[in-house]
């Protein structure tokens, strides 16, 4: 996304779900290549079952993923 004012990054751990990332963060793959970010706020999978990793696709709900609280 371009054209918006700088915004400090926040990463919010959603209970039993993904990491919600807002603000200016560059996402890169293991080779350091940028991963296209198609929306201002993205959800990163932390259950390991998303079919569109690194993004969350809601699969955490189908497997009953539970985060330690």
């Amino acid at each position: 996304m371009t054209g918006h004012a700088p915004q400090p990054a926040t990463i919010e751990a959603c209970p039993n779900g993904p990491l919600l990332v807002r603000g200016d963060v560059e996402l890169v793959d293991s080779d350091g290549n940028p991963i296209e970010r198609r929306r201002r706020t993205v959800a990163l999978c932390r259950c390991g079952t998303s079919a569109i990793a690194p993004f969350c696709d809601g699969s955490h709900k189908a497997i009953g993923f539970v985060t330690p609280s």
Binding site: G3, L20, R38, R40, T41, V42, A43
Partner: protein, 338 residues
């Protein structure tokens, strides 16, 4: 958009009014109102064609209107009186039919957890599974036609809630809606992505084009959103509705995309579904926790409405799904005859 063909006395009476401009003299006297009340007294307003199509027509005046219908009708007091007759019938039926959700503490994570529990993926037959594995080209087309009534104006009914909210829930709603409206790119608006899907499937992408083919349940699902969106007193319900809608979207959309790929559609046609897999996994968190959850903390007396809005969304979604699957398993069309 053209006015739909009336399906009963309510629709016929409304069409009679809409074909001329509103007058200063009252067109609707007590006799007309009482005829409307009688006509709206049906066994089940939720599935009654005349009630739902007439209500949809009244609501449509607040969105894009109709060709040949004077825009001044939108705020005509007579039409608002008539609308209330139908809304009262619809609301009473919903109160009666929608299973009451269990009470929850007016606390952000508790409300979000309650919404996620209500919307948890269930095993068994669903439209998404059917479209993914078994639907033929005609059924896939029917599915798009049902969807088009809302999706060609996707997000609009929930946008009514923006000025009714403040602080964190308002920011959350705007964050979701901005993404729905393409983040500033008209070609990425979800309604525009769906229009492309319609064209890819050889269908007309003009809003309302297929309304005469749609059964009452499909229309009722959209009327529910307009009812909740247009009344400030229902701001809790529209927030809960959006949360439930988003929470039941990512996984089914993956299956819809699979189904359309199986039928040989290209990436432009399936883009709408694929986009929603990623987008709604974000939106469900924001809508559940920051919109509904924060609203509950701000206005604890709305918790019941938030959960009711979600339950009503799921109830209508279930009715529509059952209508489609029943028709398809009987080998018939889920649409009204052309």
């Amino acid at each position: 958009m053209k006015l739909p063909a009336p399906r009963g006395p309510l629709g016929a009476s409304l069409t009679d009014l809409l074909v001329h401009p509103p007058r200063d003299t009252d067109d609707v006297d007590d006799a007309v109102l009482s005829r409307w009340r009688d006509a709206a007294t049906v066994a089940d307003p939720v599935t009654d064609d005349d009630v739902q199509l007439t209500l949809w027509t009244l609501y449509a005046l607040h969105y894009r209107g109709f060709e040949g219908v004077d825009d001044a009708w939108e705020w005509d007091p007579d039409l608002l009186r008539l609308r209330r007759v139908l809304e009262n019938a619809f609301e009473a039926a919903l109160r009666h039919q929608v299973p009451a959700p269990t009470a929850t503490a007016a606390e952000r994570e508790a409300v979000a957890a309650a919404l996620f529990a209500m919307t948890a993926p269930a095993p068994g037959p669903s439209v998404a599974r059917y479209v993914s594995r078994s639907a033929d080209a005609t059924q896939a087309e029917e599915f798009l036609i049902h969807r088009s009534l809302y999706t060609l104006m996707e997000a609009d009914p929930h946008t009514w809630a923006v000025p009714r909210l403040s602080g964190a829930p308002k920011a959350a709603l705007v964050e979701v809606q901005a993404d729905e409206y393409g983040g500033g790119r008209p070609d990425r608006m979800h309604s525009a992505l769906f229009a492309r899907t319609m064209r890819g499937a050889g269908l007309v992408d003009e809003y309302g084009y297929y309304v005469d083919r749609l059964p009452a349940v499909t229309i009722a699902a959209l009327n529910l959103m307009s009812l909740f969106g247009l009344h400030r007193r229902w701001r809790g319900a529209i927030a809960g509705h959006l949360a439930a809608f988003e929470m039941t979207s990512s996984l089914p959309n993956r299956l819809y995309g699979d189904g359309f790929r199986r039928l040989g559609h290209d990436a432009g046609t399936t883009d709408y579904f694929d986009e929603h897999v990623e987008a709604d996994a974000v939106h469900e968190q924001i809508a559940g926790r920051d919109l509904a959850g924060r609203l509950a903390e701000q206005e604890p007396e709305l918790v019941g409405d938030i959960l009711f809005g979600a339950a009503a969304c799921l109830y209508l979604d279930e009715l529509v799904g059952r209508h489609l699957l029943d028709a398809w398993s009987a080998g018939t069309s889920s649409l009204r005859a052309a």
